[in-house]
């Protein structure tokens, strides 16, 4: 029971609290608990990457113990700051109204009929089935011998990337993997929840990462079908079916999503990349008022750090995607400023690559 409560605290309450900080900068119409949680995860993972990478590179002994202490304090502090921002006047009247809105903000003006309700029910059945299968089915993947063992070594030995996961022998730093510290975040959750890191990887992570991904899809759907809201559940069902039946090869991001949910590369394919689409849709929303929402730019910067936390390659993928999107948006919108700002958000990724090249 305590383990479940600790998991809920570190996987829902803390990210939600942290998310209140960036969401403070969001315009009223875009605020909702879903965005708060997504923003919280991005900021939390970015902070984790910033704390953990230097620890991996420059602290010789018990570096995971160091991360455990510092990140616990930092996460608590950020979440507390979020609550302070929300409740103690900094947010003032504007953010106080936030929870007057329902979770699904369009419900006010749009009441789904029986057909839409049935479609939503169907969607939740599909997602519920996926979650049930994630818990009751074991998915074999050879890479677990690397990533899951890295998490477990950190939990059981208190140090990161000092030993070869396959054998346990001492090893020189494997820079490519050491900069992508997603397994260390899993180890962090495992320690805080007092659960074996392998159980956290294989059981707990799918239960949080899969709904989180669907939350991104849902936010995207809200923008795509802002004027035809009855299409949102249909879009979600098609997305969910695509995930279920997307196992056309072992390479697709859909396959990774459901069979290797806990691995950083899967998070990159299923969460980080769709998140880019979402942020681009938010940032270039044609209905937006003149002043851009600072929240989205903060989230985009954090997304770069999150990509670095997931895998080294996802940093490159993110930059490629942003570069191509920025180019296309520049052409169609005849606006050079926003694409330039997109370029500026790539600074964390550029530093990541520089660091990689320096210590390789």
């Amino acid at each position: 029971m305590i383990q479940i409560m600790a998991s809920v605290f570190w996987l829902l309450a803390i990210p939600f609290g942290i998310g209140l900080i960036p969401v403070h900068f969001l315009s009223e119409r875009k605020k909702n608990p879903g965005i708060t949680l997504l923003a919280g995860y991005l900021l939390m993972w970015a902070v984790f990457e910033v704390i953990t990478v230097p620890a991996v590179l420059w602290i010789k002994y018990d570096n995971f113990q160091f991360v455990l202490r510092i990140f616990t304090a930092a996460a608590m502090l950020f979440a507390a700051a979020g609550i302070v921002v929300r409740y103690l006047g900094i947010a003032r009247e504007r953010s106080r109204n936030m929870y007057a809105k329902p979770l699904i903000s369009y419900e006010k003006e749009y009441r789904p009929g029986i057909e839409a309700k049935t479609e939503w029910a169907l969607f939740f059945i599909i997602v519920g089935f996926s979650l049930y299968m994630a818990v009751t089915r074991a998915s074999f993947d050879g890479d677990d011998a690397y990533y899951v063992v890295q998490s477990l070594m950190a939990q059981q030995n208190g140090s990161m990337y000092k030993n070869l996961p396959y054998t346990g022998r001492s090893a020189s730093l494997d820079v490519r993997h050491a900069l992508a510290v997603f397994p260390m975040w899993i180890a962090f959750v495992a320690v805080q929840a007092d659960l074996h890191a392998t159980i956290v990887s294989h059981v707990v992570m799918p239960l949080i990462l899969m709904p989180l991904t669907y939350l991104v899809f849902y936010e995207i759907a809200k923008i795509l079908f802002a004027e035809k809201k009855e299409n949102i559940p249909v879009f979600m069902i098609v997305m969910a079916l695509f995930q279920l039946f997307g196992n056309v090869s072992i390479y697709t991001n859909e396959t990774f999503f459901l069979t290797r949910t806990w691995q950083g590369k899967s998070v990159a394919g299923s969460f980080v990349i769709p998140m880019v689409f979402l942020l681009l849709l938010w940032i270039f929303d044609e209905k937006r008022k003149k002043g851009q929402d600072a929240c989205f730019w903060i989230m985009l910067v954090c997304l770069h750090l999150t990509a670095g936390m997931c895998s080294s390659i996802s940093v490159f993928l993110l930059v490629i995607l942003l570069a191509v999107s920025a180019f296309c948006l520049m052409i169609v919108k005849r606006d050079i400023k926003a694409p330039l700002m997109l370029g500026a958000t790539c600074i964390p990724s550029a530093l990541y690559v520089l660091l990689y090249l320096l210590i390789k």
Binding site: M133, T136, R137, A138, F140, G142, D144, A145, V148, L152, Q156, P165, Y166, T167, G168, R169, H196, T198, I199, H202, L224, F225, N231, V234, F235, I237, V238, M239, L241, F242, Q243, L244, F245, G246, N247, V248, S249, Y251, T252, N253, E254, T255, T259, K265, I273, P274, F277, F284, E286, S312, I313, S314, F316, L317, I320, L321, V324, S325, C328, V332
Partner: protein
Amino acid sequence: MWGIFLESLVIFQNYVGFHQYRFLFVIYLVCLLYLWVAEKKKSFRAIFVYTPTILLLCFFNPLFRKAFVALLDDAETYYRLLWLLQMSMVSAYGAVKLFGRFRKTGLIVTGAAIVLCGSLVYRSEHITRAQNWYHLPAEAVEVADILKPAEGRVMAIVPADLVYYIRQYETAINMPYGREMLIARWDYYNDLYEAMERAEVIETASFTELTRNYGCDYVVLKKDRAVEEPLTDFGFILYAQTDNYLIYQDTEAGEQAGTGR
């Protein structure tokens, strides 16, 4: 250049399951084409039409592939560029838009097309009913529990089918070699692995000499593994057994390392 293009084509075919007669990518291409014609909103058009199209062209562009591989020093992960296309999202958006007002019919048609053209992930041979919360084979956990030292570390050599799992359960169990030996294309060599897995019959004398050189406290063998002479003739004791495995302890190595049970 033509060769590189063909390589990219093969990667694409493998990615979309072309040779397994999976045609989800056809749904994607139809939806993308439809969005080319029907999408009017500028930002949506840039994000859901132009960007995937350019990325697809980049993917097949030999120069782009050369630059990508040179930059990352890794040709094996080129397929991940296709993740940027977000085939499911573009397809779902295109399909829902295509069917417009006839969303119930559209949902049935699209759903049926996905089921027919795709492959249910849970039919994968890699997915089995979980035997415990760790999602590891129960017998691997049983073996690891036997090997697990009260304190310190032990070195154990285990059969290939346990190699992936033992350290996912307990990292105090070191192994002389690991998963790296099981991936043929990585082309590693380990003399103990050769003696343990490649030899038709384990030559006990040379094998035990190697296990001692590597400091193995335990040797785990499959019950049906052919052995020239019993390990018990070479200073090992049968420490424990499970349904399919025999666990031998090297008493000499255990004393040497001082970490055995």
